[in-house]
Symmetry: none
Subunit: 224 residues, 2 copies
DNA sequence: ATAAGTATGTCAAATTTGTGAAACCATACT
DNA sequence: AGTATGGTTTCACAAATTTGACATACTTAT
């Protein structure tokens, strides 16, 4: 199995090295960012970051801001490193959806333990997750889609698109929204490519293809 | 921007005051109810309550009952205040769709933080709210309109127009106002075009079409 | 009665979507 | 390296839908 990617964001290289060494020893793959902007860039470029370790105090863009930007698109677990445990900060972090706090100075062992606990928790939740909706079943972990119990062969993008539809069943999705979520957020191609993929998806889904409704002037919707 | 309304339900006035003061300080508008009946009344009278803080132990109608009655019609977020964290109660609340638990005694700061977290979550999630008015139901997220529970097919503009009517039910709307809100603000076409759309809407709404009243010399109004 | 406002049916123009083919691109295989 | 393969994107045109204007009929207020 692949090693899980962890993004470590801190402006101090010494701190990054400390954390990285420990995480690598514990069989994680580590990516580093030295400021908030870099962090956001890397996060949206690589789409398979499993967890983020984020320092609060940073130049340019602080940890809270990074958190907000990422939370606008993703539920990836975030661990915040704070200088001291300050109630106000914790409250702000809670609102932003921070999963865990660790105040400096901390023991690397504790950090690894918390990371593993969080990953165990979130993987457990998402692993056995089979999304289903009206005869469509999507198993994200297995990257497999079933229609009425029978597997259909989908390409990568088709699968991602179907997953996005199932996750947002019943909701009208604009092409812009689909592009931002299924494609990379910095994709600047033609939005009509969605039409092509929808067409293929529909045909591969056979009779269930009708479940993807066109909403004229808006986009598409998977019928509930 | 308007302040969000929060309904605080507790039989102890001291507790209500405590919560209210804190919420007002945090820029919420607070409505109070001292028992379950009042709570339900107020909730259905005011139609724009953003969240409910609900005490479990109350005379007349307890928190669970209030929760059930409200959940029958609305998905408004509910935070339950419990005397002690009791596992059985938490399970019951989970089934009833309680969003969050806070056990007394609690820190007002935590309460505010949780409220804001929930509001952010639900507001961002999608405005999955369903506007309804006399047999008309409009689901903005799904881009779907129901008349007496049955879906009617509307074009983009028709849907926007109906939504605008429902959002401003009972209010006389001039053509100019409608143009500015449903059409782009830089639309300089003929205001008579609204008549055409109103006509189509009325016909698609069947018997409920009468609910859109003509106000001679002014514009239109959706009857409450 | 008359003038001003509104309802309704029709229709051409504009917009949006469906579709198939072709171009492009990355990857694995010979 | 060259080639085959399959996925992805673009493009052009056809098909479908929406939309706003207009003409005519109708209603209301004075």
């Amino acid at each position: 199995m692949d090693r899980l990617k962890i993004l470590v964001v801190d402006d101090e290289s010494r701190m990054r090295k400390l954390v990285r060494d420990f995480l690598v020893k514990n069989n994680f793959e580590v990516l580093e960012a030295e400021d908030g902007e870099q962090a956001v860039d890397i996060f949206f470029q690589k789409k398979d970051i499993a967890l983020i370790v984020l320092d609060v105090m940073m130049p340019k863009m602080d940890g809270w801001q990074v958190c907000r930007e990422i939370r606008a698109y993703s539920k990836v677990p975030i661990i915040m490193l704070t200088a001291k445990s300050d109630e106000r900060d914790e409250l702000q972090g809670f609102e932003l959806g921070v999963d865990e706090y660790i105040s400096k100075p901390f023991s690397p062992k504790i950090l690894v333990a918390r990371i593993e606990a969080i990953l165990r928790r979130t993987n457990q939740m998402e692993n056995n997750e089979i999304l289903s909706c009206g005869g469509i079943e999507v198993n994200k972990a297995a990257h497999q889609a079933l229609i009425d119990g029978e597997e259909i062969e989908l390409s990568y993008k088709e699968f991602e698109l179907l997953t996005y539809f199932v996750e947002n069943r019943g909701i009208a999705l604009s092409r812009e929204k689909i592009l931002n979520n299924v494609w990379n957020y910095d994709y600047f191609g033609d939005a009509r490519t969605i039409d092509t993929h929808v067409k293929k998806l529909r045909s591969k889904m056979g009779s269930k293809g009708d479940m993807i409704k066109t909403i004229w002037g808006v986009g598409y919707k998977l019928e509930e």
